[in-house]
């Protein structure tokens, strides 16, 4: 290493001018690329904030303007991790609690959805038997499950998790089933010529061929989970961003409500991106 390091300065010295020029040009191009992505949304955001500021800065406006939101909630923005015990916690901790519920509920939904999807996708008898029931159940709104879940579990935590699971399971299941039904005949023929047994067929053909469909379902599912958890937490209480939102309303802290909405939106986007990223990782590029 150190031996080879000797002649290095010479070479860089000779190539110094062009190398720097190339480096600068590359940096410039990268900066332009980044600007192309970042500048337009920044402009629209600024316009939106300006309109909001103008519309609600008069006396007696029903909602606070953005400047007031920031001023009111600066303590919350600056200290996301404070914990004064009980329900008086920073926003990051509320969101963390909500995410924990989503993680459990969504995991259950994913597992059950893929298994049920494989079942109704590969057996037409199972499809004919179960599909009508699923079609009815999947139209039930998430919150409509909450009372029955509370009655069944007698506790708010498992009830909230059940609501998430039952909301997210349908898109995962239906997309998995569609994926299995859409396995091209060619792949089946290849499997038949090779005489793959059912187990080999499942792991070598069915599963990889269905991964893009499963992840489409998971993406829809994670979005619905996040919708459901906020709504469920508003009703069941406890630590969580949904509870925080409802608590702010009860205390008439409109600025905190607005801040919570922004955080909910950002976390929802983040969840969506995480699933997309996981799908690319597992399904290879071109999955989405």
């Amino acid at each position: 290493m150190s031996v080879e390091a000797e002649p290095m300065p010479q070479t860089t010295g000779m190539l110094k001018l062009p190398a720097t020029a190339v480096l600068l040009a590359g940096l410039k191009r990268r900066a332009l690329d980044v600007a192309r992505v970042i500048v337009p949304p920044l402009i629209s955001l600024a316009v939106l904030l300006a309109i909001w500021e103008l519309a609600f800065s008069g006396k007696g406006a029903s909602l606070p303007p953005p400047s007031k939101v920031v001023a009111d909630t600066w303590e919350l923005i600056a200290h996301p991790f404070f914990d004064r015990g009980g329900l008086d916690k920073g926003l990051a901790l509320h969101i963390f609690e909500s995410l924990k519920r989503v993680a459990v509920g969504f995991s259950i939904a994913s597992l059950a959805g893929v298994l049920l999807g494989v079942l109704i996708g590969s057996s037409s008898l199972a499809y004919r038997g179960l599909d009508p029931i699923f079609q009815v159940l999947r139209t039930v709104p998430p919150l409509a499950w909450l009372p029955i879940a509370l009655a069944a579990f007698r506790e708010s935590q498992p009830a909230a998790i059940f609501v998430i699971a039952v909301t997210a399971v349908w898109p995962v299941m239906l997309n998995t089933a569609v994926g299995i039904r859409n396995i091209p005949q060619d792949y089946r023929n290849v499997a038949r010529v090779l005489r793959l047994n059912p187990l080999e067929f499942f792991f070598k053909i069915t599963l990889p061929a269905t991964v893009p469909y499963i992840f489409t379902g998971l993406k829809i599912g994670i979005g619905l989970s996040w919708l459901a958890i906020v709504a469920a937490e508003m009703l069941v209480g406890g630590v969580g961003i949904g509870f925080f939102l409802w608590d702010s309303w009860n205390s008439s802290l409109i600025s905190e409500i607005i801040l919570a909405l922004i955080y909910i939106g950002l976390v929802g986007l983040l969840l969506d991106r995480v699933i997309t990223w996981a799908g690319r990782l597992i399904g290879g590029p071109g999955t989405f």
Binding site: N189, V190, R192, V193, R195, V211, G283
Partner: protein, 265 residues
């Protein structure tokens, strides 16, 4: 050679459809010798793919019997490897992975890991794809995909290599190089090949015999044309060859005089 290698005896195919039964093939009789290259030609809808699928075992014939090397054909198997028209490579596997899947499944009883790896690479090198082992199917051209499809089929060491319009989707130049590759490999390994085509020149160039099918429904073998050209065949030398022109003429007359396509008439 008294007993034919592949024997197709009175094979018929009737499909049950929603609109009643549809007779695709009647009384197909064909004997194929070991190492022979047969092409099946006919207008679309003449049941040539159905016949190939029956030999492959992917479709069960409703009448008649097929024997390959003395054993009845009743299900698909690697002894009748198929090269599909649209390559049918699994997109989530690499070029190597696609061939390896077949090698692992078919030859694991005979070969250990090391041998299976070498055999996979060997077959890909045979079709000229040794440079692209780690590429995914979507990263290579149509002709290359078809080469990998051929490597996968060859790697199973089939008794009969079945090819369903293997070069139909390729441009003329790519098709010509692949035909040459196929002839080279066949000369080296002595494979028995059945190839479906609708290209007269391809049929004459590649085959020892050309099986011409009448128009469907109820298609049958109309004529069989022997192509008595010595191998190796070089396409440039054949353009003026009287035997080439005779065989070509015979197939053309069959297709465009005697069996004009109903829709074209």
């Amino acid at each position: 050679m008294n007993r034919p290698y592949l024997q197709i005896d009175n094979v018929g195919m009737v499909f049950d459809t929603a609109k009643g039964s549809f007779t695709a093939l009647v009384d197909v009789n064909l004997k194929v010798a070991r190492g022979e290259v047969i092409s099946i030609i006919g207008h679309s809808g003449c049941g040539k793919s159905t016949l190939l699928n029956i030999v492959a075992g992917l479709t069960r014939n409703t009448s008649g019997v097929l024997l390959l090397d003395g054993k009845e054909i009743d299900s698909p198997g690697p002894d009748r490897a198929v090269v599909f028209q649209n390559h049918s490579l699994l997109p989530w596997l690499s070029v190597y992975g696609n061939v390896k899947l077949a090698v692992d499944k078919v030859l694991s009883a005979r070969m250990d890991r090391r041998q299976r790896h070498d055999w996979t690479v060997h077959n890909l090198e045979l079709v000229g794809m040794g440079h692209a082992l780690d590429k995914r199917p979507h990263e290579i051209s149509g002709g290359m995909k078809q080469r990998v499809g051929i490597a996968r089929a060859l790697a199973m060491e089939p008794k009969v290599l079945l090819m369903d319009e293997p070069f139909g989707a390729l441009d003329a130049l790519t098709r010509a190089t692949l035909q040459d590759t196929l002839m080279d490999i066949q000369a080296k390994l002595g494979n028995t090949v059945i190839i479906i085509t609708h290209d007269v020149d391809e049929a004459v160039l590649l085959s020892d015999r050309i099986v011409m099918m009448t128009n469907g429904p109820s298609a049958r073998i109309g004529e069989i044309c022997e192509v008595a050209l010595p191998r190796p065949r070089r396409r440039l030398e054949l353009t003026e060859n009287p035997e080439y022109l005779r065989a070509r003429g015979a197939v053309m007359r069959f297709l465009y005089e005697r069996q004009r396509h109903p829709k074209a008439a």
